[in-house]
């Protein structure tokens, strides 16, 4: 008996790698959709590309000693700028802040949205909900990027430039409201579901209900909200730098676009200067959109396609392991 007990415990430990959790099944569902798998590969590629840029670049991206306006060649993979900088090195270096700010905006914004949305939804029709909903409404109306531009222009007048952290804070402060609003209404319908009432009757604590039932049941929305907010973060950051409100000595895809605008690259046909950063931003947004599409398909478990072979294999594995455990009882 003792042996079987330990075996069972081992097995339980192994299965607890979240195979049954909503998070795992969401990831699995995304992985099974071909569209979102393409998106994941794309995102992974971009992240690897940007991480390489942090550690290694062919040339110093701030160096201005190269000949100007060179078209792409083997020496300069994407040519040089009007100021004599290597575009490829700039592209490598400039990706990391954009991606990092985007993903962090997504994380922080979604976190605030979950916090506010679930609290407001659970305590609907009370003063808590009214205050939180009011705040959400106000933040919903604020046009985030324009406000940041306003602040940036004001600070620019007294020669202070916006840093990454200020922009990150501003973007996530303005990006959470939409998610919170939708999540509140989702929670409002979820908390009246009978399975939540049933958990309440059985004696689950409120925290358990939130983390085990409300969040998993709304996980597809939360995940897609993360990607939407991340797209907003990336677009916002590049927008701000494109208008020259940030520090222009920092190299990222936004400042590259800004300098190409200043160097009139469009008029002079220096396509290797402005196409690569624009294309990269577009690719990141595309990968997020593709993943979002996969999440949409997973969102409804009834629509999910089940791999029958895998399912039977799982049952067989369970039964095989049960050989001396639960199988013995029957």
């Amino acid at each position: 008996m003792g042996v079987s007990r330990t075996k069972q415990r081992e097995r339980r430990f192994r299965i607890n790698v979240d195979k049954q959790s909503a998070f795992y099944s969401l990831l699995q569902g995304i992985w099974e959709q071909r569209i979102s798998r393409v998106g994941l590969y794309l995102l992974l590629g971009i992240i690897v590309f940007c991480t390489i840029g942090v550690f290694y670049t062919p040339y110093n991206p701030n160096q201005t000693s190269f000949p100007r306006d060179l078209p792409p060649s083997f020496q300069h993979l994407l040519g040089t700028t009007d100021y004599g900088q290597d575009v490829f090195s700039q592209l490598l270096v400039g990706g990391f802040p954009v991606i990092a700010v985007g993903i962090l905006t997504g994380l922080i914004g979604t976190f605030i949205a979950i916090l506010v949305g679930i609290t407001a939804g659970l305590y609907a029709d009370t003063i808590v909900d009214r205050i939180l909903s009011g705040i959400t409404q106000i933040f919903l109306i604020i046009p985030g990027i324009l406000i940041i531009e306003l602040i940036g222009a004001y600070l620019g007048a007294i020669s202070i430039k916006l840093g990454y952290f200020v922009i990150l804070g501003a973007l996530s402060a303005t990006g959470w409201a939409w998610g919170a609003r939708v999540l509140r209404s989702l929670v409002l319908s979820t908390r009246r579901k009978e399975y939540i009432l049933s958990s309440e009757l059985i004696g689950e604590s409120k925290m358990n209900v939130i983390f085990q039932q409300i969040i998993p049941n709304n996980l597809p929305f939360i995940a897609s909200n993360f990607f939407f907010t991340a797209i907003y973060g990336i677009a916002g950051l590049t927008f701000i730098y494109y208008f020259g409100l940030g520090s222009l000595t920092q190299v990222n895809w936004g400042t590259m676009l800004y300098w190409s605008l200043g160097g009139e690259a469009y008029l002079r046909g220096l396509w290797w200067w402005y196409v690569p950063p624009g294309l990269m931003i577009g690719l990141v947004a595309l990968s997020f959109a593709l993943i979002n599409r996969g999440i949409d398909r997973v969102a409804n478990p009834k629509l999910r396609e089940w791999n029958i072979k895998k399912y039977y294999k799982q049952i067989k594995e369970n039964n095989g392991d049960n050989g001396d455990g639960t199988g013995n009882i029957s």
Binding site: L201, Q213, N217
Partner: protein, 266 residues
């Protein structure tokens, strides 16, 4: 047969907004006296909108009556005045089976999770997995191992209702309030579920309040019956007496409209 739960002069009003500022109190439940005794199946029958579900929710403490008290004798307490802790202990004894098996199980969790949660919450000492399998067998889902890792959307309505029953039975309840447990289940499974209720009463001594709109199944399974109409109890008594010799007009109507497979509407 001693009493377990007694409803004493219970009233419930609902507040309806009739205008921007005007509110109106509408009586939902009016002076209901009711009792659930040990080791019996009590039926409650009535039309839709008659307040059956409201009474059920008041018994398990999801709704509070406006007036009156609901006594639970094994704990010697009034349900309406219980603290949170006492209510939690009370709900281990008295629990609810929902009407719709399609929404009473969480779609993101497996059958095993549903049954093992109450066991974990009430600190079951012993092997939880064995107990889950045992419970699944008790509600005649066989073979139980096949159901452990299934999700609710892979089960049929009757199977879901059984899984839910197993979840509630994991608490070792004394009283089950079953709110139309078979109305969403197809007719062939209905009888077997009712059989299961009878078996629970006989083998485990669980009292069951069986709520339905269908007086035919009441006759099949219940010992005593309450007839509810628009929030009032219009008739109560022994099942055979009520069905064979109904006194109230409403009860007569209910017994008359039971569909008979041998008659045709012309």
């Amino acid at each position: 047969m001693s009493k377990l739960i007694e409803l004493i002069h219970v009233y419930k009003d609902f507040i309806v907004r009739t205008g921007l500022l005007r509110k109106e109190h509408r009586p939902g439940i009016w002076d209901v006296n009711m009792e659930i005794r040990e080791n019996e199946i009590v039926g409650m029958v009535g039309g839709s909108g008659g307040g059956k579900t409201v009474i059920a929710w008041m018994i398990v403490g999801l709704l509070k009556p406006t007036k009156g008290s609901i006594m639970y004798y094994p704990m010697g307490l009034d349900v309406t005045k219980m603290s949170k802790k006492e209510l939690r202990r009370y709900r281990a004894d008295v629990n609810l089976v929902f009407q719709d098996p399609y929404s009473s199980l969480d779609p993101t969790h497996t059958v095993k999770w549903h049954i093992e949660r109450p066991l974990k919450l009430y600190k079951y000492n012993g092997d939880i997995e064995e107990r889950v399998v045992e419970l699944l067998k008790e509600v005649s889902l066989s073979p139980p191992e096949e159901f452990l890792y299934k999700y609710p959307f892979q089960l049929s309505g009757g199977q879901r209702q059984r899984v839910y029953l197993a979840r509630v039975l994991a608490l070792n309840p004394k009283v089950l309030v079953a709110d139309e447990p078979v109305s969403n289940v197809d007719a062939s499974i209905r009888a077997s579920l009712l059989e299961l209720f009878k078996r629970l009463r006989d083998e485990k001594g669980i009292s069951i309040m069986y709520i339905t709109h269908d007086i035919a199944t009441i006759g099949y399974v219940a010992d005593r019956v309450y007839v509810v109409k628009q929030g009032r109890i219009v008739e109560e008594g022994d099942v055979e007496r009520v069905i064979t010799n109904p006194q109230n007009e409403y009860t007569k109507l209910l017994t008359k409209v039971v569909p008979n497979p041998y008659t045709r509407i012309d």
